[in-house]
C-alpha cells in the first residue's frame, strides 16, 4: 500500500495520474474509466485517490458516479483523504437534481469512514424530508446504514423515530423502504445485543395495529420487492385476536397471484403464521386450497428458484400434508433437471405418496433407476423402499420392482436394492422370504460395505431358512479382517445368530469368527461385541438367545424431518435460508461482523438453555433423518475410552447395516448385564454426512435415548451442526 502511495514515475498508474490531472475533460473522464477498469480486475489503484478525488466536482453524472464508486471502494484505505470529499458530498446532497441528491446520500452511507459519518447527519436530515420520493426512499436505507456503523448517532439524531413516521408516507416505495430500514435496524440491534449491552429500545421495531393498517394499505400499491418487505413484516406481527388474523389472511390472499416467486413465498409465510390462530375450518380450507396452485407454478420456474421453492414445499408438507395431495405428478423429474432439483423432487414425491398414486410413482421411480446419474439412481431405489414402508399395501409391488432392478445386474443398482430390501425385511419380517435366494445369488456382485452388511444381516436373520447359510457366511468369515468394520460387525452377529438357530452346522465357523474378532481385529467396537457374545454364549445361552434373537419393533416412516418446535419456527421463516436449509437461523448466521462463532460460543457456554436445546434437537433430527435405520447402537463398553469409541463410531457410521443387529432393547440388556449403566453417548454424535440432506424418513427406531441423552452430549453436537453445511 505504501508503495503505491509513493508517486510512481512511470508505468500505468503514472500515466493515469497525468491523465486524471489533464486539462481536457474527455481525457480525465477516460482516465477515470480506466482506473475503474483496473479496480474491477483487481489491480490496486488506491494510490490515485487524491487525483481521482479532484474529478468529483462535475456536471457529468456518469463521471460523478464513477468517482463515487471509486470512493466507496477505497474510502476505508484512505480515511484521512476522504475528508476532502465531504464538501462535495454535502453540496451534492443539496443539488437541484434529485438523482444527484439521492446518489450523494446513498454513497455517503456506504463510505463507512468515521470521519465522514459525522458530516452525514445534516444532509440525511434534509433528505429524509426531501420533496422527492426517490430521495426519501434512498434516505430511509441510509438511516439503516448509519445505524449499522454508529447506532448511537442514528438514535441521538432521532432518525429512527423519523423512519417510524415515514411508515405513513404517501408514497408506497418510501413506506416499503422505511419498513425495510426499520426491520434491518431491528435485526442489527438484536444481533449485536449482548448480556451487558442489550438492544437499545429505540431500535426495537414493534408493529402496532396502526402500523399494521399502513402495511396492509401499502401492500396493494408497492413494487414487488416492497411487497416482500411488507409481507415479511406482517409475518412478524402478533395478531390481537382471531378476527385480526382472519383479516390479515384475507388481505394477503391476492398476493398469491403475484408473478414474483418471493412475493408468493412471503405471502405463504404470512398465511402459515396467522393461520395458527384461525379456528374457522372453512377459511383454513379455502386458504390451503388457494395455496396449492401458486406453489405448483413455482415448480416451473428457473432451476435455482425451483429448488428454493421445493425446499420450502418440503417443509410445508411436513406441517400440512394435504396441501398438494393431488399434485404428485408435478414433481416428476425432468430428464434435464439439475441433480439438486431431482433429489428434492424425489423427497417430495415420497411425502405425497398415497395408496391411490403409488403405482404411478413406482413406475416413475423404476424409470429413474435406469438413468445414468448414480447418486440419483440410488436415491430412486431408496425411494422405492420408502414407498414400501410407508404404504403397506404397495410393499408387494415394491419388492417386485426391486427384484426387476436386481435382475439388471448393474452393480450399484443391485447393491442399493439389497440395502433397501433389508429395510423391507425390517418392516415386514415374514412376507418376502421367497426373495432371499435371489438376493443370495448376487452375493458375489456386492463390493460396498453397506450392501454386504445388509445381505449378511438378512442371512443371519433368516439363517434357519437358508440351507447353505453357514457356507455363505463362511466366505465372509474367511475374509473377515479385510472387510470394513460394519461388515465385520454384521458378520459377527449373523454367525452368532446362525449358531443359535443351527448349532450343529455353525460350531466351527462361530469359534473361528469369535477368535478372529477378539484377537486380530483392530476395531474396539468389533472386539467388544465379540467379547460380549462370547461371554454370553459361555455363561448363559438362554440370555444370549433373549438378547441376540430378540424381535425388533418394525420401522416406520416419519412424517417430519425436523422436530415440531423447529418446524413451527421454520414455517415462520418461509423463503429464507433457514427454511431452505431446514435449520434454525442461529445454527448458521454470524453475529453482526463477529461471525458464527459467537453463537457457537454462546451455545457452548450453556448460557441460553433454549437455544442449546434447540440445537441439540436439530442435531438429533438430522441424525434421525440421515440413516435409514438409525439404531441406538451404543455398544461401547465400560472399559472403552469415550474418545476412541467416538472416532470409530464416526468411521463406521452411515452404515444402516450393522446397526440393524443391535436393536435398542437387547443392548440395554447387554449393558446391564455388564453392569455398565453408562450407555456412553458418543455413538449419538456421529456427524451426519453432509452428503444427503435430511432426506430419508426413517426415524431412529425405538430408542428415546437420543433426546434424553442430548444434554449430556458435550460440545460435539455443535460442531456437527456446522459440519452439516
Amino acid at each position: 500500500m505504501n508503495l503505491s502511495r509513493a508517486a510512481p514515475k512511470k508505468g500505468e498508474n503514472f500515466e493515469l495520474r497525468s491523465d486524471l490531472n489533464s486539462e481536457y475533460r474527455d481525457r480525465r473522464k477516460d482516465a477515470i474509466k480506466r482506473v475503474i477498469a483496473n479496480m474491477t480486475v483487481g489491480k490496486d489503484v488506491s494510490g490515485l485517490f487524491p487525483d481521482v478525488l479532484k474529478n468529483m466536482q462535475t456536471d457529468d453524472l456518469e463521471q460523478k458516479k464513477l468517482v463515487y464508486l471509486y470512493l466507496m471502494n477505497y474510502a476505508k484505505t484512505q480515511p484521512e483523504l476522504v475528508i476532502l470529499a465531504v464538501n462535495t458530498f454535502v453540496k451534492d446532497a443539496d443539488d437541484p437534481n434529485p438523482l444527484v441528491r439521492a446518489l450523494a446520500i446513498r454513497t455517503m452511507g456506504m463510505l463507512r469512514a468515521e470521519k465522514i459519518i459525522d458530516y452525514l447527519s445534516d444532509p440525511l436530515q434534509k433528505c429524509l424530508r426531501d420533496e422527492n420520493p426517490y430521495v426519501r426512499k434512498t434516505a430511509c436505507l441510509c438511516v439503516a446504514k448509519l445505524y449499522d456503523l454508529k447506532p448511537e448517532l442514528a438514535i441521538d439524531n432521532g432518525f429512527i423515530g423519523q423512519l417510524q413516521e415515514m411508515v405513513s408516507d404517501s408514497n408506497p416505495m418510501v413506506v416499503a423502504n422505511a419498513i425495510t430500514a426499520l426491520t434491518d435496524i431491528h435485526a442489527t440491534a438484536v444481533l449485536n445485543a449482548t448480556e451487558s449491552s442489550p438492544a437499545p429500545l429505540q431500535a426495537n421495531f414493534i408493529i402496532t395495529p396502526q402500523v399494521l393498517g399502513k402495511l396492509l394499505i401499502a401492500l396493494g400499491e408497492s413494487s414487488e420487492w416492497g411487497r416482500v418487505a411488507l409481507l415479511t413484516c406482517l409475518a412478524r406481527y402478533k395478531a390481537v385476536d382471531e378476527k385480526e388474523s382472519e383479516h390479515i389472511c384475507e388481505r394477503v390472499l391476492p398476493q398469491f397471484q403475484h408473478v414474483n416467486g418471493s412475493v408468493v413465498l412471503a405471502a405463504v409465510k404470512v398465511m402459515m403464521v396467522h393461520m395458527r390462530h384461525l379456528t374457522r375450518e372453512d377459511l383454513v380450507k379455502q386458504i390451503i386450497k388457494k395455496m396449492a396452485p401458486p406453489l405448483v407454478t413455482l415448480v416451473s420456474s428457473a432451476p435455482e428458484t425451483q429448488w428454493v421453492a421445493l425446499r420450502n414445499i418440503n417443509l410445508l408438507l411436513q406441517k400440512r400434508p394435504d396441501i398438494l395431495q393431488n399434485e404428485m405428478r408435478v414433481f416428476f423429474c425432468k430428464y434435464n433437471d439439475p441433480p439438486y432439483v431431482k433429489l428434492e423432487k424425489l423427497d417430495i414425491m415420497i411425502r405425497l405418496a398415497q395408496e391411490k398414486n403409488v403405482d404411478t410413482l413406482l413406475s416413475e421411480l423404476k424409470e429413474y433407476a435406469s438413468e445414468v446419474d448414480v447418486d440419483f439412481v440410488r436415491r430412486a431405489i431408496k425411494a422405492i423402499g420408502q414407498c414400501a414402508i410407508k404404504i403397506e399395501s404397495s410393499a408387494g409391488r415394491c419388492v417386485q420392482v426391486l427384484l426387476e432392478l436386481i435382475n439388471t445386474r448393474v452393480s450399484y443398482v443391485v447393491q442399493e436394492a439389497v440395502v433397501v430390501m433389508k429395510d423391507i425385511f425390517r418392516k415386514y419380517p415374514h412376507n418376502y422370504e421367497g426373495v432371499i435366494p435371489t438376493l443370495c445369488a448376487n452375493l458375489d456382485e456386492l463390493d460396498e460395505p453397506e450392501a454386504k452388511a445388509s445381505l449378511i444381516w438378512i442371512i443371519g436373520e433368516y439363517a434357519e431358512k437358508i440351507d447353505n447359510a453357514s457356507e455363505l457366511l463362511g466366505v465372509f468369515v474367511d475374509s473377515f479382517l479385510e472387510e470394513a468394520y460394519q461388515v465385520q460387525l454384521q458378520t459377527l452377529t449373523a454367525v452368532v445368530k446362525l449358531y443359535m438357530k443351527k448349532p450343529e452346522s455353525a460350531q466351527g465357523v462361530v469359534s473361528k469368527v469369535l477368535e478372529t474378532a477378539t484377537k486380530d481385529c483392530d476395531s474396539p467396537d468389533v472386539r467388544d461385541r465379540a467379547y460380549i457374545y462370547w461371554r454370553l454364549l459361555s455363561t448363559d445361552p438362554n440370555a444370549a438367545k433373549a438378547v441376540i434373537l430378540a424381535t425388533r419393533p418394525p420401522i416406520t416412516l416419519a412424517q417430519t424431518t425436523v422436530p415440531p418446535v423447529i418446524l413451527e419456527e421454520l414455517l415462520g421463516e418461509i423463503g429464507t435460508l433457514a427454511s431452505v436449509y431446514h435449520k434454525p437461523a442461529e445454527t448458521f448466521v454470524g453475529r453482526g461482523r463477529v461471525g458464527a462463532d459467537a453463537v457457537h460460543r454462546k451455545i457452548e457456554g450453556q448460557e441460553d438453555e433454549a437455544i442449546r436445546e434447540k440445537a441439540l434437537q436439530t442435531l438429533v433430527a438430522g441424525q434421525q433423518a440421515e440413516n435409514l435405520l438409525d439404531f441406538d447402537e451404543a455398544v461401547a463398553g465400560e472399559d472403552q475410552p469415550t474418545g476412541l469409541a467416538a472416532t470409530t463410531a464416526a468411521v463406521v457410521q452411515s452404515s444402516a447395516g450393522h446397526k440393524v443387529l443391535t436393536s435398542a432393547n437387547p443392548l440395554d440388556d447387554l449393558a446391564s448385564l455388564f453392569g455398565s449403566s453408562s450407555l456412553a453417548t458418543p455413538t449419538q454424535a456421529p456427524a451426519p454426512s453432509p452428503m444427503s440432506p435430511p432426506a430419508s424418513m426413517f426415524p431412529s427406531v425405538p430408542s428415546a435415548a437420543p433426546l434424553s441423552n442430548g444434554p449430556a452430549v458435550p460440545s460435539k453436537p455443535q460442531e456437527d451442526l456446522l459440519g452439516l453445511f
Binding site: L66, N171, H258, V259, L265, Y335, D375, A578, V580
Partner: protein, 435 residues
Amino acid sequence: MASLIAILDLKGKPLIQRTYRDDVSPSQIERFLPLALELEEDGQAVKPCFSSGGVNYMHIRHSNLYLLALSKRNTNAAEIIIFLHRLVSVLIEYFKELEEESIRDNFVIIYELLDEMMDFGYPQTTESKILQEYITQESHKLEVQASVPITVTNAVSWRSEGIRYRKNEVFLDVIESVNMLVNANGNVIRSEILGAVKMKCYLSGMPELRLGLNDKVMFETTGRTSRGKSIEMEDVKFHQCVRLSRFESDRTISFIPPDGEFELMTYRLSTPVKPLIWVEAAVESYRGSRVEYMVKVRAQFKRRSQANNVEIFVPVPEDADTPKFRASTGGVQYAPEKSAFVWKIKQLGGGREFLMRAHFGLPSVKNVDDVDRRPPIQVKFEIPYFTVSGIQVRYLKIVEKSGYQALPWVRYITQSGDEYAMRTLQEKDASIQPI
C-alpha cells in the same frame, strides 16, 4: 438481503463485483468455486444456496457465468435468487447477450445498474424499462442531465406520463406452451399447459385497460352463462400493473399497461392434454455392428391447423457413427454433440403422418462399463392460430380520458414447452437374431 453481488466466470474469477454491506469480505468470492468443487468431490450436488464458515453463498448459473450473492444473515433466499435472475434479464436487455465479453465491455454501466437495482443489500428498481430511462449507454451524448423519472417511485411505477402515439394500437399474443411426458408404453404420465399473454402496447396517455377472457371462474362468480367453451385456469400470475385485489374479488383483469412490450399474465392448466404431435421410434440394435431406427410422426390435431418448424430429437448411442437417413418428408441431420439426430419438418399438416429411417454403425468393441443412456425423444414445434386450452380473448377495453379509439389485435399460438418428451423403450438387443 445480500452483502455482496458478484459475477464470476467458470473458473470462479470475479469479473465484476459490488459490495453493499461490509460484513462479508470480498475475498470470500474467491472461496466460492473451491467450496463448490469440494462439495462436488464429496459426491454431493452443489445446491444454489450453501453455507460455509458463517457465510451463505447463493448463486445461479447463466450460460458460462455464475452470479453470486453473499450474506451472513438469515437472508430471504427466494428474494435474492429471484433478484439474481432479474439482474440477468436486465443485463440481457441492455447488452443483448450476457457473457464475459459483454461484461468487460460494459463494466461502467453494470456498476451503475448494480447501484440502482440494489441498495444496502435490498432490491430496489428492477424494471429494465424504467432503468433504461435514466441509465443509458449514451449518457454523455445527452445535452440535458438525466433525472429520475418520477415513475420510479410512482404508484404507477411502470409507465411514464406523456406518452404519445399517432396511431393507438395494442397487440395481444396468447402463447401456450405444452409440457408433456409420455412413457415408453405410450401413456401420457404428465402434461401441463403454461400460458402467457404478451402485449405490445402503443397507446397514448394513461389508458385504463380491461381484458375479458373466457374464464370459467369469472362466469361462475358473475353468474353469467358463457356462450361456448370456458376454461379453468389453475394459477394465474399477473404483471405488477394488474390490480390483484380487483381480480381476487370479481376476476376482472384491469390495469394501466407499461409502454411497449411486456408479459401481462401467465397461467397454468393441468387438464390432461392429448399429445398434439405423436412420435414413436422402433429401435433395433445389433450390438457391435449397427443400430437402426424407424421413427413415425403423427400430427394429432385438426386438419385445418398446421405445425411449423417441427424438430424431433432422437437420441442415439454416443459412439454411433456413419449415419444414413431416409425420410418421407423434411430433412434429417446428425448432431453428434447432442448424441442425437434431428428430424426437421418445416410444415406438418393436421392429421398427417410420416416415417423416417436411420441407420448408424456401432464400434465392434464396447466398453462394458458404459451404461446405456436413454434420454427421451424431444419434440419442438409451434402451431399458429390455435390454443390447446381453448382460451379466448373476449374483449380488450381501452379507456383513456382523451377518448381515442384504439385497435386491439389478438394472435394465438401453441408451442412445445421445455419438456415435450417421449421416453423410449430399453433398446432391444437384436444381435441374437439372424441378420
